[in-house]
């Protein structure tokens, strides 16, 4: 060993570089040869044998890729909508109208140092965010986005959803317990109490729908609601829909049920000691939860990707096949683009007057024609393929519910809880029990006694 060390010291830097690279290259060559001859064909025919495994792998990767943009969109929506409700403007400095804000949030969370407090139980502390994030992300497998597009069509779809909901509680408990901080302990216990107590109404309210649809697979539930809006289960099970909506908001720990991280009582609940990317996982998990909750409400009660009225399409455009696109449509598109920009530039010059110099007018013209053409193509696609419609309707309904969850979220509804509500643990102290809530007279509080 000392001989190698001595020679290593005496070698020049280039010599050292070659001494490392040459054996590495040899190893690589041998590995590829073996791979090509033996390993690759074996995997191919194995995969060929059981295609569903491939589909599952693709679905999981797709979902993992999909969650981050969904979380970004939802964070941006939350910032802007709540700001507007509070008579504020919300982020508008980073990116157009502040759109890059959530991206920057992501980078900030990534760049922050995530340390563990002294005395924290390190393995549990680091695993907690992973469990919570994966639990809420995996529920996306079950959500049917469009007729052919969904993660995995389990026949026990809804059961899978509730199981994952329960699993995220485990993550919160682990976080609460491992952070060696009384506030997070309280936060963790509260989250356990809250989700357990709201799981029951959530599950029971869905039983009606399961009986109506005959199965628990979310895809077939949506298929059972096809037709016009009247066939949606919400009209058949209105009370169940209401209960499901409230219980689902509680499941997602959203205001007015954010007892788990009630800022005014237990600082930041289970996430008090977390910082950096560990907090990032909790942060994204919460927003993905909101998306899932809204997605599930639309799937189960508002007919998933079915159109609200009897949509005459899809109108199959069979004259639009590959061959004709290649020959006919691309040149036409090119011509339309050029002619369009000239016309638009002229219009801009006419209206805008001298201020618009030639290049900027052409730029604007190009922009407008481009926009018009994409709209046209979108419309064509929309008419042509049913999954495009499916995604459109599904996303529309989901984001309506995200808005509604947001609407009652940050407004005046403070947290229920405390002694005046059911969350109280069973130790009902004598004082509160003996305190008669006076609902007798017409107004709870008599007219103020004005002593002049």
């Amino acid at each position: 060993m000392t001989f190698a060390v001595r020679t290593w010291d005496r070698m020049s830097p280039t010599a050292r570089l070659t001494a490392i690279l040459v054996p590495l290259a040899l190893l690589l060559a041998v590995a590829t040869v073996i791979g090509v001859l033996v390993v690759v064909p074996a995997t191919i025919n194995f995969l060929g044998a059981n295609l569903p495994l491939v589909r599952f792998g693709v679905a999981v990767v797709g979902i993992l890729v999909l969650t981050i943009p969904t979380a970004f969109v939802l964070i941006y929506m939350e910032l802007k909508i709540i700001a507007r409700m509070n008579l504020r403007v919300g982020p508008n400095r980073i990116g157009p109208w502040g759109a890059a804000m959530s991206l920057v949030h992501g980078f900030k969370v990534l760049s922050k140092e995530d340390f563990a407090p002294t005395g924290a139980d390190l393995p549990v502390f680091t695993l907690a965010p992973v469990v919570t994030f994966l639990a809420s992300v995996m529920t996306l497998l079950v959500v049917p986005f469009a007729p052919g597009i969904f993660g995995q069509d389990f026949n026990i779809g809804l059961l899978f959803f509730f199981a994952m909901g329960g699993l995220s509680v485990l993550g919160l408990l682990m976080a609460g317990w491992a952070s060696f901080n009384k506030y997070s302990l309280l936060g963790g216990l509260r989250s356990a109490a809250q989700i357990v107590s709201y799981e029951i109404p959530l599950t029971v309210s869905v039983v009606g729908v399961v009986i109506l649809a005959g199965t628990m697979s979310t895809n077939s539930i949506v298929l059972a609601q096809r037709g016009s809006a009247l066939d949606w289960f919400v009209f058949k099970q209105p009370l169940a829909a209401l209960i499901f909506f409230i219980a689902a908001t509680a499941e997602a720990n959203r205001t007015p049920f954010d007892m788990t991280e009630a800022d005014s009582e237990i600082v930041a609940g289970f996430a008090t000691e977390y910082s950096g990317m560990r907090f990032g996982f909790f942060f994204f998990a919460e927003y993905v939860n909101v998306f899932i909750v809204s997605a599930l409400i639309t799937t189960v009660f508002f007919g998933g990707w079915t159109a609200p009225f009897n949509w005459p399409w899809p109108y199959n455009l069979n004259w639009l096949d590959a061959w004709s696109i290649g020959i006919l449509w691309i040149p036409i598109a090119g011509i339309v683009l050029f002619v369009g920009t000239d016309i638009m530039a002229a219009v801009v010059r006419l209206l805008g007057g001298k201020a618009w110099t030639a290049p900027s007018a052409f730029g604007l013209g190009l922009l407008i024609t481009g926009a018009l053409m994409t709209a046209a193509v979108g419309l064509a696609l929309f008419i042509a393929f049913d999954w495009v419609q499916g995604i459109f309707w599904f996303m529309a309904k989901t984001y309506v519910f995200v808005f509604i969850v947001r609407l009652d979220a940050r407004h005046a509804a403070p947290r229920p809880g405390g002694s005046a509500d059911g969350l109280r643990l069973e130790m009902a102290p004598a004082r509160i029990a003996s305190q008669p809530l006076r609902d007798g007279n017409r107004r709870d509080h008599p007219e103020p006694v004005n002593a002049r």
Partner: protein, 271 residues
């Protein structure tokens, strides 16, 4: 308090939804500036008069009155003789060492130190003894020091500041506030009247005699505490060759007597 359970929350939601579309209260700060009230006192700024020089003469009243001692000021006095400073020393890097040394008891050279001629401090000690070192009676102390020395020597002011514990700027502030206290030895002025009948009576020759007696020229600054100036207005009813000392006409001034008188005057003021 209505009785339909969801109505209150629904009304709250309605209000927030309505506020969703109302104009916002945020001001895009750098682009649109808030309109600050005219009488807003939030800005600490020095005032300039119409000629552009600062209207502040470092009298330290504001610095002493400031409750949180946030005003740190220093300046040279009008004749640029010495630099006075008021304010917390720790806020400035270069002074941090100085205050640390002072707290640890080691002598600290006064960076703004301007040499001034040492004086005999015994009279000042007696005056302070009589006033039992009370900074509250700063004005009588300064008046007695002026009576004892004829003016307020800088060493005396520094000593009073040190001994009574009053900040130097308080002593300086009181000294500059009152007109009858002055920092320079009161120069005695000899004025010779140059009106026609005085010139006829020989005041020109008397002026020259006084010049070499005092060793100064007509109109030059005070030398050895005496200055020779030209009397602009002949005092009514005074004798024709009129010479005044600090405004008092001197009787029967002759050419020969004038030189001797001037020399004795110069000797007297130096003491």
């Amino acid at each position: 308090m209505t009785f339909i359970p969801g109505l209150g929350i629904a009304k709250g939601m309605a209000l927030t939804l309505r506020r969703f579309f109302e104009p916002k209260a945020t001001i895009q700060y750098p682009e649109t500036r808030p309109d600050i009230a005219v009488r807003f006192r939030g800005r600490l700024q020095l005032l300039y008069d119409e000629f552009g020089n600062i209207k502040c003469e470092t009298c330290f009243q504001c610095a002493q009155a400031c409750p949180v001692e946030c005003i740190d000021m220093g300046g040279h006095d009008t004749k640029n003789r010495f630099y006075t400073h008021w304010g917390p020393a720790e806020t400035y890097g270069e002074r941090r060492e100085e205050s640390a040394q002072r707290r640890s008891g080691r002598p600290v050279p006064d960076q703004a130190y301007v040499h001034f001629e040492p004086i005999d401090l015994v009279p000042v000690e007696e005056i302070l003894e009589r006033r039992d070192f009370d900074p509250g009676e700063m004005l009588p102390i300064l008046e007695e020091v002026q009576a004892a020395y004829g003016y307020l020597p800088i060493a005396a002011i520094k000593h009073i500041g040190h001994v009574t514990g009053a900040p130097y700027a308080l002593v300086y502030g009181t000294a500059t506030y009152y007109g009858h206290l002055s920092f320079e030895r009161r120069a005695r002025t000899v004025a010779v009247c140059r009106c026609t009948n005085c010139l006829v009576a020989g005041s020109g020759r008397i002026a020259n005699a006084i010049c070499e007696g005092l060793g100064t020229k007509l109109g030059a600054g005070p030398v050895g505490g005496v200055a020779l100036e030209q009397l602009l207005v002949h005092v009514r009813g005074a004798a024709s060759p009129l010479v005044t000392l600090d405004g008092k006409p001197q009787p029967n001034m002759t050419e020969t007597g004038a030189a001797a008188w001037a020399r004795s005057l110069a000797r007297k003021t130096v003491a």
